[in-house]
């Protein structure tokens, strides 16, 4: 079974803090993705990576950066957290190539106060 794990289920941070969200997958997948999910807006892609050290912007990259130093790990960084970044963050992975099914982690519910 594919397993995608995320470092925290719930996280509370203060405005202006630097926040790291970690995602690890154990299926040797090339592709990894970060989404945020908000009521009424659905899932929106923040960044994705198709290889180590490679990254591509998604639909809403502003205010975020990512790091992929190892194949199994993909980190999402909020350089200076703001209240409008309060959301559910979902990590996913998939096989190499495009249009494959994605395997999701359990999500991190981040609250910025």
């Amino acid at each position: 079974d594919v397993k995608v794990t995320q470092s925290s289920r719930y996280l509370v941070k203060r405005t202006g803090e630097k926040v790291f969200l970690e995602c690890v997958q154990d299926m040797d997948h090339e592709n990894m993705f970060w989404y945020r999910q908000d009521p009424g807006l659905g899932l929106r892609l923040i960044y994705f990576s198709y290889d180590v050290k490679m990254k591509e912007k998604g639909d809403i990259p502003e205010g975020y950066s990512v790091s992929r130093e190892k194949k199994e790990r993909f980190s999402l960084i909020l350089e200076s957290a703001s209240t409008n970044q309060t959301s559910m963050y979902l990590c996913a992975s998939s096989e190499a190539g495009n249009s494959y099914e994605q395997y999701f982690g359990p999500g991190t519910r981040l609250t910025v106060t």
């Binding site: 892609l45 994705f48 198709y50 591509e56 996913a92 249009s99 494959y100 099914e101 994605q102």
Partner: protein, 109 residues
């Protein structure tokens, strides 16, 4: 964006009934996928239908795809209380998937 749009937004049925959800999208796709999300959890992949397929089955799930109408439907037969969840369609045209906003299904025991 080739975002899918699900219809209805919410659906409430009795256990044992069938549930049908629809998805419409705007541009050409490689495939269309359906996912389930239980409250507050990650998404789980249910089924993938390629652009050259018209119908696909998996257990109690039946998916249809009409590329001429740019629409898909997901049918869950003989629903169970455990099917209560949000269901999302996702269109695939490259590396990324584009998700709709989901249909919230409630199955009443």
């Amino acid at each position: 964006s080739q975002q899918g749009e699900e219809d209805p937004q919410a659906l409430s049925i009795q256990e044992g009934e069938n549930a049908t959800m629809n998805c419409s999208y705007k541009t050409s796709i490689n495939n269309l996928q359906w996912y389930r999300q239980n409250s507050g959890r990650g998404l789980v992949h249910l089924i993938l239908i390629r652009s050259n397929e018209r119908e696909k089955h998996s257990g109690r799930l039946r998916v249809t795809l009409d590329t001429s109408k740019k629409s898909s439907s997901l049918l869950i037969t003989a629903s169970r209380a455990a099917d209560t969840a949000s269901y999302f369609c996702a269109t695939a045209g490259g590396y990324q998937l584009t998700f709709g906003k989901g249909t919230k299904l409630s199955v009443i025991p």
